[in-house]
Symmetry: C2
Subunit: 137 residues, 2 copies
DNA sequence: TTGGTATTGAAAATGGTTATCGATTCTAGT
DNA sequence: ACTAGAATCGATAACCATTTTCAATACCAA
């Protein structure tokens, strides 16, 4: 697992299980879904530990989180660590990483024009992917 | 209150109180904050009713909702009913309505290119407004 | 006015997420 | 290896925003 976390952290079996799973699942998933997947494959990891590890990975910038309108938090280990956004299927969580340099500039400019500082933004695109449209279309 | 809601709905005192308050508060507020404001001014409205009325107004497209990372839902009656986005102060909820036609087109094009249908997006800019920066800057 | 129905709201339930805390496990030092 | 000390685990309880329940009430058409 190398040094997934800085400072005083330990490489435990549980964290390795969560990291391995995240590498295998390409879609956005809830913490509870990830925990269920771990249990199903026989990995003995508590739900609490899944939440904690995801929070650690979030702080380390190793995973992304998004929250669809009316839904719970979704986690995903993205291929790129740089700033980007997502196109996410509402049904299955299938994800496409997208970049929008023009959007970044636009958001920063708008905020600056109104005297806002310490600016950040959230931008996610939600829809139904081709596979899910074919099933329940 | 006129016909704020279609179909079988009634013009109750409680709904009028919530609507009046929303017209007076220019910033994004949580349901609980709005309820507290109502109680403070002597309006006898239950928290449940505030939640329910906000949901009705949401369905009717009369109020907007946003959810800052790690926070609860924020509600606001916007001046324009057409699609737009917000620049919101993390501290006080001060809000600026903004439009980004280029962003809309970009989001729809990206989704279409990947075969997604029934597409929507969330885009909000969060920061610290000038007033709050002056207080705790 | 009156009857039927939508609405209210206090209280309880819900459900995702976080805190507790004793048991366990890793790591460094010897 | 052994041991001490700290980090981690995880079952359980707590948290808290939001929703549901359901009996009492308020609205409105006739």
């Amino acid at each position: 697992m190398s040094d997934m976390l800085a400072g005083t952290s330990r490489n435990t079996r549980q964290r390795a299980e969560v990291l391995t799973l995240l590498d295998e699942v390409p879609d956005f998933r809830t913490a509870q879904q990830l925990h269920a997947l771990l249990v199903r494959r026989g990995a003995r990891v508590g739900l609490t530990t899944v939440y904690r590890t995801l929070q650690l990975l979030l702080d380390a910038g190793e995973v992304d989180v998004t929250r669809p309108p009316g839904g719970e938090q979704l986690f995903r280990k993205c291929s790129r660590s740089q700033h980007h956004h997502h196109l996410v299927c509402r049904q299955c969580g299938a994800t496409v990483e997208v970049e929008g340099p023009a959007v970044e500039r636009w958001a920063d400019r708008v905020a600056q024009e109104h005297g806002f500082t310490d600016v950040g933004h959230t931008l996610e695109i939600f829809g139904t992917c081709q596979a899910c449209a074919g099933i329940a279309g």
